[in-house]
């Protein structure tokens, strides 16, 4: 009886870890070049908090890093609909850069995959609902790092 129970437990465990793996690769974060995959990481983009987002990205809580910096990013954005953001990572083996906005309805704005040979620096424009902290989340050599910057918004980018 004990034997059977043991096997059953093992089988269940294996089953569980297998399905977890499948889920993770379905979420697209496991394989390199994730963003190019057809699966859009819905759970990450639907997340409302840093913890939820990190969970959806299959990462632990990120370590603050001075090697991740914002350049050419304003302290005050006059128009929340168009806020220029530039993120540069000086971390070796940077694999991806994500931009998160704390007080937006959904935190995650964009994830960029950086293949080898591409500079770990990205410039784009995002919408901000209100004055908020903006996070630059960098995955380098399998670990997550973060830097933040407060951007004041005088005119919100949503509704209006």
């Amino acid at each position: 009886m004990a034997d059977i129970d043991q096997t059953r437990r093992k089988a269940l465990q294996q089953g569980a870890s297998l399905s977890l793996l499948t889920l993770l690769s379905a979420a697209g974060w496991l394989a390199p070049g994730i963003a190019g995959a057809e699966t859009w990481n819905k759970s990450a983009f639907d997340a409302h908090s840093m913890d939820e987002t990190m969970k959806a990205l299959n990462g632990s809580s990120p370590a603050p890093s001075k090697d991740v910096t914002f350049v050419a990013t304003p302290d005050i954005a006059e128009n929340g609909a168009v806020v220029p953001i530039s993120v540069v990572s000086a971390l070796p083996k940077t694999e991806s850069i994500a931009i998160l906005i704390e007080k937006n309805p959904n935190m995650l704005a964009a994830v960029f995959d950086i293949p080898q040979g591409t500079d770990p620096s990205i410039t784009t424009r995002v919408k901000m609902a209100q004055t908020s902290n903006v996070y630059a989340l960098v995955k380098a050599d399998g670990k997550f790092y973060v830097a933040s910057k407060e951007i004041k918004v005088t005119l919100g980018g949503c509704g209006g």
Binding site: A110, C158, G159
Partner: protein, 103 residues
């Protein structure tokens, strides 16, 4: 059919600088029209950039990327005359592919 992207790719020393301006509404799904009905979300979800067939950047976007998105980055390994191909896909499944050569 969506409007074409404006792509500029310039060789600066050993790096290639790519600047793209896409034409897309990037509707958040948070706004309401004059009748108070929610305007459904409509936004680019995937962006892929290749140079001479090799992926140099891929991205997943949410609704927080601005209307008519702008993107700029640099990569190494490109040469003058190489072809840059950029494709985006939005949440309605619509696609747009445009190309430019490195100048």
């Amino acid at each position: 059919m969506p409007d074409p992207m404006k792509i500029r790719a310039n060789q600066l020393g050993d790096a290639t600088e790519v600047k793209v301006l896409m034409s897309h509404e990037m509707e958040t799904g948070q706004r309401k029209d004059s009748q108070g009905k929610v305007i459904p979300a409509w936004f680019i979800q995937h962006v892929d950039v290749t140079c001479a067939g090799k992926t140099v950047l891929s991205a997943q976007w949410g609704t927080a990327v601005s209307k008519n998105p702008f993107l700029s980055f640099k990569f190494k390994g490109g040469q003058k005359g190489d072809k840059i191909v950029i494709t985006w896909t939005d949440n309605r499944g619509e696609k747009r592919t445009d190309e430019a050569t490195i100048a």
